[in-house]
């Protein structure tokens, strides 16, 4: 079981602790054994401990410590946002956020929709059961 996701310059990581929790950042330089210099379009470039980062599959092509402009251009070129939001991990996070922000009325509507869907599924199932008659 070799490692697949490496800490390297250009690796996109998810922050899992602290002020920037939930943000996607790019590793822009490695400071020492424990820390990386990390940057994102909407934050000031700064150091972060690797323990605060979870590596993703996405890697972009940048040189060590690029300008903000170059970084943003590289992110656009690699289409990181869309890749992330279409990945299953990214989609799960989006669903979690949506669920957490649901209104009481929204939850009620979802309950009605679930009941409806279950009813339709049950009807189809009973039809299939009738056909096979086993």
């Amino acid at each position: 079981m070799p490692f697949k996701r490496y800490v390297e310059i250009g690796r996109v990581a998810l922050v899992n602790y602290g002020k920037d929790y939930g943000k996607l950042v790019v590793i822009v330089d490695v400071i020492d054994q424990n820390r990386a210099l990390v940057d994102a379009p909407d934050m000031v470039r700064g150091q972060m401990n690797f323990k605060r980062l979870t590596l993703t599959d996405i890697k972009i092509d940048i040189k060590r410590v690029p300008n903000k402009k170059t970084l943003v251009a590289a992110l656009e070129a690699a289409d990181v946002k869309n890749k992330w939001e279409s990945s299953s991990w990214g989609r799960k996070l989006i669903v979690q956020k949506k669920r957490a922000s649901l209104n009481d009325f929204d939850r009620f509507k979802i309950m009605l929709a679930k009941i409806k869907k279950a009813g339709v599924v049950r009807q189809e199932l009973s039809k299939l059961k009738k056909e096979t008659t086993c």
Binding site: A100, S101, L102, N103, D104, F105, F108, K109, L112
Partner: protein, 233 residues
């Protein structure tokens, strides 16, 4: 010159640091224009005569001196203010009632009465909650709003909901009790009409939103896995 148009007055002697003004006493005397007022009045600052103090009526010495010193109550300058309404509660908000006969019911907020209590209605046809007063503390405000513009709630106030004062009857058992029970149970027709008129406009705006009617008809309850401190209402 209307009083509202006056500009707020700037300080004549601004502080350099706290306790030290920019201008000295003599400079301030000049700035205040006291020399001009004196000059206008011929060398002396204008005085007016003291108003004659009306002679106070002669007080008689008190008849009774208490044995121990009587303590004066502490001065209390607090004024009663109307209860502050939470920012999340605006007319038309759907509220969840948390206690009492209608606990769990989702209800439409109409207005805050002068006593601080919230005037609320089911509407009655939808969930059985009549026009009722409810305390703000026993209510969760959801972010769902109902259009309340067609409803007239001017006539409702705390007196409308107060208990009816009964005429004092002579004490007599037997017949007296039976008669009382009959009177208490019926709701006067004008209150029923008020309910209908308020609900008519409300129900129309409720039916305009899909599922809102069944939402208001259902009770709220916490299910497994729901964490109230994490829920968004």
């Amino acid at each position: 010159m209307a009083p509202q148009q006056r500009k707020p007055h700037v300080c004549r002697n601004p502080d350099l640091i706290r306790g030290v003004g920019k201008y000295s006493r003599s400079k301030m005397y000049h700035k205040r224009g006291l020399w001009a007022i004196k000059a206008k009045n011929g060398g002396a600052f204008p005085k007016h005569e003291k108003q004659a103090v009306a002679a106070a009526p002669a007080e008689k010495p008190p008849k009774f001196y208490p044995a121990d010193d009587v303590k004066k109550p502490l001065v209390n300058k607090r004024k009663a203010r109307p209860t502050k309404l939470r920012a999340s509660i605006t007319p038309g908000t759907v509220l969840i009632i948390l206690a009492g006969r209608f606990k769990g019911k989702r209800v439409v907020f109409l207005k805050q009465l002068t006593s601080g209590l919230l005037l609320v209605t089911g509407p009655f046809k939808i969930n059985g909650v009549p026009l009722r007063r409810v305390n703000q503390s026993y209510v969760i405000a959801t972010s769902t709003k109902v259009d309340i513009s067609g409803v007239n709630v001017e006539k409702f106030d705390d007196k409308y909901f107060g208990k009816k004062v009964e005429k004092k009857k002579k004490k007599g058992e037997g017949e007296f009790f039976e008669a009382e029970k009959e009177e208490k149970n019926t709701l006067p027709q004008d209150k029923k009409d008020d309910q209908k008129s308020v609900d008519a406009a409300l129900i129309q705006s409720i039916e305009a939103v899909p599922d809102l009617k069944s939402y208001l008809g259902a009770r709220f309850s916490l299910k497994a896995g729901m964490k109230p401190h994490e829920l968004v209402f």
